[in-house]
């Protein structure tokens, strides 16, 4: 397939009710119905994982008076997935402003998820009060230098969890920092270009809307080390809505919040929780499922909403 065809293919995107399904074969995206994505999941060597983001335990507002309740409903739905997700990625903002007890409450709720393991990266709401002390005491163990960033391999796919909220001062945007970028370069260097890569972090690693701080200032440097790979998926949270962008072989995707939606970039005077009624908000919060099939290399991302 030549470059122009691929471009055309990338523009092919379909909303299937509340679920948007992307499928990637050898770095080429196509749209699929939810049902066929599930069928692909049954193929040999396939695995599925779920991305949960921006749970904001402790938030209370017009769009959601009880984010723990909406999260519980979504977790119940995750527990009906067959096969069960191999693992879950939580891409940050577990708590709303480090409300006392929120980390504990979420940890208790996530114990009920039928999966092997949950991986975490922090959001700014999890670290702003104490520079990440509490977060790292809970989730830093086993990460690189106990800084919170990490990588692991699962069935031939290399996963990288990055922290871009701990240097979150002054410039008004997320940042990875020199140490983490150097580590990333070393972490990726032994891998062959055909290794599928999934990167996850809280603040988008692409410039979604810098005016609202929806950007990671030094992400470009990190991305230079990812460009040589044939298939890279970058999964973020932070902006509480689904947005995707494709740049060469790198596909960026942001997940919904399980708590409340935020306005589309520039569509409101400011970011923040949308002031809409709960019934409407439930159509705008949810989780993301991703399925990978090694060999054929399709990657399907399914965003589903609560109602």
């Amino acid at each position: 397939m030549d470059h122009i065809d691929r471009r055309g293919f990338l523009q092919c995107m379909a909303w299937t009710g509340s679920a948007l399904v992307w499928t990637s074969a050898g770095g080429v995206l196509s749209s699929r119905m939810l049902g066929s994505a599930e069928a692909a999941d049954d193929a040999a060597g396939a695995f599925r994982f779920v991305q949960v983001s921006d749970t904001h335990i402790g938030f209370k507002g017009q769009a959601n008076s009880d984010p723990a309740a909406t999260l519980r409903q979504l977790l119940d739905r995750i527990n009906t997935l067959k096969p069960a997700p191999a693992f879950v990625l939580h891409t940050g903002d577990q708590t709303h402003g480090q409300k006392p007890g929120a980390f504990d409450q979420l940890a208790e709720m996530l114990k009920g998820v039928k999966t092997e393991r949950i991986f975490y990266v922090p959001g700014e709401h999890d670290v702003f009060l104490d520079g990440g002390k509490e977060y790292l005491s809970r989730y830093g163990k086993g990460t690189v230098g106990e800084h919170g960033w990490q990588s692991f391999d699962y069935k031939g796919t290399h996963f990288v969890g990055l922290v871009n909220v701990l240097k979150y001062k002054g410039e008004g945007m997320g940042a990875l920092g020199q140490d983490q970028i150097e580590w990333l370069e070393k972490d990726l260097s032994p891998l062959s270009a055909s290794t599928p890569i999934v990167v996850f972090a809280h603040v988008p690693l692409w410039s979604v809307y810098p005016q609202w701080g929806w950007v990671t200032e030094d992400a470009e440097r990190a991305l230079t080390y990812l460009k040589r790979f044939g298939s890279v998926s970058v999964l973020n949270g932070h902006i509480h809505q689904v947005l995707t962008k494709v740049e060469g072989n790198v596909r960026f995707h942001t997940a919904r919040s399980t708590a409340f939606p935020q306005p589309a970039p520039g569509s409101a005077p400011a970011p923040g929780p949308m002031k809409i009624d709960e019934a409407e908000a439930r159509r705008m919060i949810g989780v993301t499922e991703a399925s990978l099939v090694r060999g054929a290399e399709p990657l399907a991302i399914v965003d589903s909403t609560l109602s």
């Binding site: 402003g97 709401h125 702003f128 009060l129 979150y168 410039e171 008004g172 609202w212 400011a270 923040g272």
Partner: protein, 106 residues
């Protein structure tokens, strides 16, 4: 009679000024739609500034030099800080660092 009245008013004014000095001056800053208003607040030394968060999103009042820092303020919560020394105090929201403002004490 007129003279005594003037003296009385003078005494009342003096008393109220004294009371004001004891209680200290106060000023307010609102937080709405991810903005501090006023973005530049000019006050006299000894003034207590009170910020009120009118957004549903949590915000903080965090000094750029570490001189003061609020916890996360939920909707309608307030934070107060008294400024005794003249100077320019820059602050921002630790959750949304593009929100920046200044208190000028002189």
């Amino acid at each position: 009679m007129k003279k005594r009245m003037v003296i009385l008013i003078g005494l009342l004014l003096a008393a109220s000024t004294a009371a004001h000095a004891v209680a200290g001056r106060s000023a307010t800053v609102g937080i709405k739609e991810f903005k501090f208003a006023p973005a530049a607040l000019e006050i006299r030394p000894g003034t207590t500034v009170t910020w009120t968060n009118r957004d549903e999103e949590t915000h903080t009042i965090t000094s750029a030099t570490g001189a003061f820092a609020s916890p996360g303020l939920s909707n309608d919560e307030t934070f107060s800080q008294t400024f005794t020394k003249p100077g320019t105090y820059q602050y921002f929201c630790a959750l949304h660092p593009m929100m920046r403002a200044t208190v000028i004490v002189k």
